[in-house]
Amino acid sequence: MTSRKTELTRRDFLQAISGAAVVGAAGGSLLGSKSAAASPAPPPGTSAPGKSSVVLVRDAAALDENRKVNGPVVSRMLDQAVAALFDEESPEKAWSRLFGPDDTVGIKTNHWEFLPTPPALEEAIRRRVAGAGVPAARISVADHGIYENPGFTGATALVNIRPMRTHHWSGVGSLLKNVITITPSPSDWHGDSCADLAGLWSLPGIKGKVRLNILVMLTPLFHGKGAHHYQAEYTWPYGGLLVGVDPVAVDATGLRILEAQRKIHFGEDVPFTIPPHHIRMAEEKHHLGIADPARIRIIRIGTMENALV
């Protein structure tokens, strides 16, 4: 019974990310291409062939006046986003389509101390994965060193979550980049402003395993300066999350928001100091997903004032 449930969940998942253009989005081998190519039409609220869907959920109550994260609010936002992405009425059903009792799940987070993934979101994911039947002992949350972390090396499924920000080497710290700690030598991927980061998604520890990508847009960093490339001045209370299956589409949408905020702040189009072209390259060279905004469907939840996309 258990294994039947899991298989069904995976089949549903394949449907959710169907369309050749998103074949690589969940990381190649899960879809293997055969399965994806043969998959039936996607359910509403997810993806259409040749397109990717991204949920943008925003809530003014996600942050208080000191920009402290409201845990219950952001947990609710995540549930809303996942339910909408898979066109389910309840978040429980949506999460159950992603994970099952046979899974071992690694939650790849980001612990950059200036702008970390809020612990409340990590906990919310852990709770929902457990609620889908995954034993607590087989759920891991980590950032660094996942290439030697048994919770990740033995994972059957991954959740990828991080805040978006500008970055010294890659232009922006993206979901595509967040999995770089799967390799013990991240600097191997730094060439040409990290243009080929999408290649990480073909590595054995990642390929075919990432089932959900969450870009935290609560207080994004749109410009960097100083030793740590962080100044509070260059963050703003956007109060959002971007959620999708296709990491390229989610990153591309987040990048548009950063670009728009830079234009507002600087009064003109100021190019990123380091070009974030790895997102475009992920589509054009690596065929991992969709970066073209014209082929990204944004599902909007909550306030859209100053949404910038």
Binding site: N66, R67, K68, W112, E113, F114, H167, H168, W169, S170, G173, K225, G226, A227, H228, H229, Y230, Q231, A232, E233, Y234
Partner: protein, 296 residues
């Protein structure tokens, strides 16, 4: 005593520059220390910049307050005033001076300055009146605790003042450091290495009469010897401006005007000037400001 032993004994010293408590903020936990080899663990993505400037040690402390967002303070021991200058000038410095150290800036909740061989960064995760006072208080305490007050690199005195965009002066050693700011073609035409010291300065073009015209560049590089400088200058001309005779400036493939000269153990290069006269005038100004080097 070896240099390394001396460096190790200096580690607790830099932590001692940090105050224990300011405006109700106190350390969250024990200080963290980093060397050049471990700096990647502290700085996500940017450690290479400081490694290229010979960083030796870094102390990192997080301050917390029960009713405020946190403040993070770092002191980088760069080993020399020149490299501390370089670390601070790695960014465009357009914010207000904080009035501490040799040069400082306070902008958007972040304070940075350099003094003697140290580059100091104090950053509030979110700016409020309280964190602004605390950031400045921590910085002031550190600046007061650093005993020395060495001068900027001597090369900076040779930068002509007219047209100089003072907030955009960068210090580097090797070709990679230069390339971070300006790509001077393939290879390493100026024969830069870890023993050379260079400045990249940007100048507003007076010739164009248009403030939207991109600034042009002066490179000023000091070599370990006059012979090394001469070799580099000849290599630059051969590789970057073939066909150069004795004219004061030459138009290069990029469309701007280039000029260069050898000044003892230094080489000056102007790139991207709007016309021949502008390039030649700046080179002449560098010649005029060149002071005799003390015997080394």
């Amino acid at each position: 005593m070896t240099d390394e032993a001396s460096d190790q004994s200096a580690v607790p010293g830099i932590a001692g520059f940090l105050p224990q408590a300011v405006e109700g903020f106190s350390p969250l936990e024990a200080d963290r220390f980093f060397t050049a080899d471990t700096l990647f663990d502290l700085i996500n993505g940017g450690a290479e910049i400081y490694r290229a400037l010979n960083v030796r040690h870094t102390v990192h402390r997080r301050y917390v307050h029960p009713e405020s967002s946190d403040i993070i303070a770092d002191i980088f021991d760069m080993g020399s005033a020149a490299d501390a200058y370089g670390a601070w000038h790695n960014d465009i410095r357009e914010g207000e001076s904080a009035g501490m150290g040799r040069e400082s800036e306070y902008q958007g909740g972040s304070l940075s300055f350099w003094k003697d061989r140290y580059y100091v960064s104090v950053v509030a995760l979110y700016e409020t009146d309280l964190t602004a006072r605390a950031v400045r208080g921590i910085g002031r305490a550190v600046a007061d605790a650093i005993p020395g007050d060495a001068q900027p690199p001597r090369l900076t005195r040779q930068l002509p003042g007219e047209g100089l965009l003072a907030e955009q002066v960068y210090f580097f050693h090797d070709h990679q450091g230069l390339t971070r700011r300006y790509r001077l073609g393939d290879g390493n035409p100026l024969l830069l290495n870890r023993h050379t010291e260079g400045l990249l300065a940007r100048y507003r073009s007076a010739a164009s009469g248009d403030t939207t015209t991109p600034p042009f560049i002066l490179l000023l590089i000091r070599y370990p010897s006059s012979e090394a400088a001469d070799l580099a200058h000849r290599n630059f001309r051969a590789s970057h401006t073939p066909g150069w005779k004795e004219q004061p400036a030459i138009r290069t493939a990029g469309g701007g005007w280039t000029s260069s000269c050898l000044l003892g153990d230094r080489v000056a290069v102007v790139i991207g000037a709007a016309d021949r006269n502008e390039a030649a005038t700046l080179i002449q100004a560098v010649r005029s400001s060149t002071e005799p080097e003390p015997t080394r």
